[in-house]
């Protein structure tokens, strides 16, 4: 938006002042972290060379990525269905979808642990699909905690797409599903990317439910956020902060890359 005149400049400056305050505040906190680990020579090299941290990093990356794929498999049809169709109990279902956003993540881990003690939960594990204290459990926890963010973002995107475009597509030869895949889905791609980013960032950062449901076994179920928690709990603040900075760098690179690839201006 072009800015002109004294009032225009003042208005834009007052809006952007909040951006400066917020981003500046975050950068100040990160700078303090960097300063802290700068005073502890060798800590970064120690973190980079540690095989445990390598394993946690790799586990964090692949579980978050699998969670995004699985999360989008649910979020796209759910977002579309909740946006386009009205049914009895629609408002209730819409609210239930948002529950994981409101609930403390720890509760999800606890509830999962209880669920897998029930007959149905035991039946699932009896099929060989084991989650409790297993790596698959990490994905399950991440999926339950983070998918709601994706569903919300994608539903809002479909809300903003005129259903008449799909109607026209159907008169031009598409089936209902064809209109979804050829019109609604391509039009929603930005919202889907945003939804994917939200799922990934949320999944990458959780550790509370993982501590309860899969534990923090080194080289097995330990992800980067768990490492930060464990290191600080034994007093190695410098290592915890170095891992946190590593997480920040990875997350920033991933977010910027996705934004540049997927959300470029048309």
């Amino acid at each position: 938006m072009p800015v002109s005149g004294t009032h225009g400049v003042l208005f834009a400056a007052s809006m952007l002042a909040f951006v400066v305050l917020f981003v500046g505040g975050l950068l100040a906190i990160f700078a303090a972290d960097l300063r802290y680990i700068y005073g502890e020579p060798g800590v970064i090299a120690k973190v980079i060379r540690s095989p445990e941290i390598h394993a946690a990093l790799w586990l964090s990356l692949w579980t978050s990525t699998v969670t995004v794929v699985l999360g989008l498999i649910f979020a796209i049809p759910m977002g579309y269905g909740l946006s386009r169709y009205r049914f009895p109990g629609h408002a209730l279902v819409d609210s239930i979808v948002d529950l994981p956003i409101i609930l403390p993540p720890l509760v999800v881990g606890l509830s999962l642990l209880v669920f897998f003690q029930t007959d149905f939960g035991k039946l699932i594990e009896a099929t060989g699909l084991k989650f409790v204290f297993e790596r698959k459990g990490i994905v399950l926890c991440q999926l339950l905690v983070s998918t709601s963010f994706g569903i919300r973002a994608i539903k809002l995107t479909f809300d903003g797409i005129d259903p008449r475009m799909e109607n026209v597509a159907m008169t031009l030869g598409c089936t209902r599903a064809g209109a979804f895949f050829r019109v609604a889905l391509p039009l929603a791609y930005r919202g889907i990317i945003v939804g994917g980013i939200l799922i990934w960032t949320r999944a990458f950062g959780i550790f509370g439910p993982l501590m309860v449901f899969v534990g923090a076994v080194r080289m097995r179920t330990e992800v980067l956020p768990t490492t930060v928690y464990l290191e600080q709990s034994v007093g190695r603040i410098d290592v915890a902060l170095a891992v946190a900075i590593l997480m920040l760098l990875l997350a920033t690179v991933a977010l910027v890359a996705v934004r540049m690839l997927g959300l470029g201006q048309r």
Partner: protein, 365 residues
Amino acid sequence: MIRVENLNLVVGDPAGKGGSFALQNISLHVKPEEYFVLLGPTGSGKTLLLESLCGLNRIDSGQIVIDGVDVTLAEPRRRGIGYLPQDYALFAHKTVRGNIAFGLNSRSMAREIIRQRVVLLMDQFGVAHLADRYPQKLSGGEQQRVALARALAVEPKVLLLDEPVSALDEQTRDGICRQLRHLQQSTRTTAIHICHSFTEMLAVADRVGIIDQGQILQVATPQEVLHRPRNARIARFVQAGNLFTADARADGSWLRLTFAGGIGLSARREPGDRLEGEVFVMIRPESVRLGAKIFEHLEPETSLLEGTVDTVADLGPLVRIDVVCDGGAALVVSLGSKEYNDQSVRPGDRIYLAIAPQDVHVMSE
């Protein structure tokens, strides 16, 4: 070409917040190559009916036949229709070329044939120079042309147009209406065009169906609707100008009408006409003769009134004159610009009005 029999459809929940709306016993017959206009006020059910013809709403009962085929239960893609929705609904993720080619791609045609056909349509609709632009970068008129080309690309038997010019400015609207009419005639397509503008209907229609509150009130030619509306509701909608209640009394082949203030008029009485008692009377403003002196030659049974000019409003091609007749009734008279210049009527002038019996339209409801 299009036959709709006893179509019924209820949408919404009668007990819900927004209530419900019903299309009731809609029956229509649109002839091949006819330009049919569905005219009705906002919220009358026009778009709902058009969407039902498209197959976008499953009707509760009734039958829809297009080109001799019962399509009541057919999917939209199997109805042989081209649909132009309000605001055009162009695909924002596709260029002009991609939008026009969309329906052809859906039919799995050879790529070269699609390319040739798209080029031909872009030339025909004057959008070839916009081929690689996205819809967001087009003007309203350009969007409309692209949407029309997209709808006609699949060579539909019927073109369904939902308020196709309502998003355009008045000057563009007139030109586009002429183009639509020309296009429909040159492609020999049957068209149903819905609108709420009376002048838009006059510009394009072979026949018109008046729709209100989910019911078809009258199907006729524009001239018939203009001069012989079936009831007072339609008369109001077609801007009757002069609509009164009167007391009617049969007198052989004439109806004697008495208005408030004791003013009397005569109207023709059709054979078998049972109109008597309280009736509605419509007199179109352009049918009233106006003169400063008493008229020398008048048809038999022409009613002659005297009155005073109240206001004169110059509307460009027409001049609207409000007259207060002796006895208190107010009458609107409409004159062409040239006719008005010859008369030179001013507010306060005493004038005579002549109303021929064939110009007095009497309605029972």
